[in-house]
């Protein structure tokens, strides 16, 4: 193989990889985020998933497009299962979202608003972490992955009606948790 041929082959592979990444990353990330419970693990597993995609590009190229998505999800599912085995059951109360440099607040916010916003996010993060996995995963896939209940249903292999019910139940529980949070953080005077 000449240097030019190798270069063209590499460029074609990168282009195909980029397309697979662009097409599926959001859904895969949302699935992993829902299952893993914390952002860092989800990112690690997303990278690991796509590392396998890269190593199996010739195989993926031969597949019909609709099977590629299933293949990538199967890899992500296996990786999260392995991760569960390694780390035990996760009940993430992820602190790390607050440490994340992406938690950027707008410059117009005053320190009190910043604090409130951080506390709300922390409360929600904790509340999402406390949700049972069967409620958390569809909720995160819908919210972060922007997936419809039909799409979630296909991915998780459960009826779309069940997906809708679980999302609704997850929202109800989150709201209940946030109500508690509001009560806890309200100024002393207003609680009397």
């Amino acid at each position: 193989m000449s240097g030019d041929d190798a270069h063209e082959g590499r460029a074609a592979s990168e282009s195909f990889f980029d397309r697979l990444y662009a097409d599926h990353r959001r859904e895969i990330h949302a699935f992993l985020r829902g299952r893993a419970g914390d952002a860092e693990t989800a990112l690690d597993l997303l990278q690991e998933t796509y590392l396998r995609v890269w190593r199996h590009l010739p195989k993926l190229r031969e597949m019909p497009p609709q099977e590629r998505r299933s293949w990538i999800f199967a890899v992500a599912r296996n990786l999260i299962t392995d991760d569960y085995r390694k780390s035990g059951a996760r009940n993430a109360a992820a602190e790390e979202i607050l440490r994340s440099p992406r938690l950027v607040v707008s410059r117009s916010e005053n320190p009190q608003e910043k604090t409130e916003r951080s506390e709300q996010l922390k409360a929600l993060e904790d509340a999402i972490g406390r949700l049972p996995e069967n409620l958390r995963v569809p909720l995160v896939m819908q919210a972060l992955g922007e997936m419809t209940s039909e799409r979630i249903s296909e991915t998780l292999g459960i009826p779309a009606g069940t997906v809708r019910y679980r999302i609704s139940e997850a929202r109800k529980r989150l709201a209940k948790d946030l109500r508690k949070f509001d009560a806890l953080t309200a100024p002393e005077e207003s609680r009397r």
Binding site: M1, S2, G3, A6, H7, G9, R10, S13, E14, F17, D18, Y21, R25, R26, H29, R33, A39, L43, L46, Q47, Y50, L51, W54, R55, I97, S100, R102, L103, R117, Q120, L121, A123, L124, E125, I128, A143, L144, T148, S149, E150, R164, Y165, I167, S168, R171, K172, L174, A175, L178, R179
Partner: protein, 108 residues
């Protein structure tokens, strides 16, 4: 068909508040362009990934370098040609087997 069940147990205000805080959470968790770039680069330039490509580019240069070493540019370097068994000026022909390519020059 509506994609969501109504939040029957939540007041309108609560549902809106929940959506607002969820929006913040989504924003904080969404993949950023930097993260996407970092993931892509980590995968495409990880050791062992695409090594065939780099090998094909480097092979001619490495072969040329190897050939240039064959006549032994080190031959007259006393520090390299000295055989401890032969003393300071030991015969060069006894030392050929001591000359090795550095590991990072090897292709395999």
């Amino acid at each position: 068909m509506k994609d969501e069940l109504p939040d029957l147990d939540l007041s309108l205000k609560e549902a809106r508040e929940l959506d607002r805080v969820l929006g913040l959470w989504i924003e904080a968790n969404r993949l950023t362009a930097e993260q996407n770039r970092a993931i892509r680069e980590a995968i495409l330039f990880a050791p062992g990934n695409g090594s065939e490509f780099w090998k094909s580019l480097l092979a001619p240069m490495q072969e040329a370098l190897r050939r240039s070493l064959e006549p032994s540019i080190f031959w007259n370097d006393p520090a390299r040609t000295r055989d401890p068994r032969e003393g300071r000026d030991g015969p060069p022909h006894a030392l050929k087997t001591h000359i090795r390519l550095k590991p990072y020059l090897k292709l395999s």
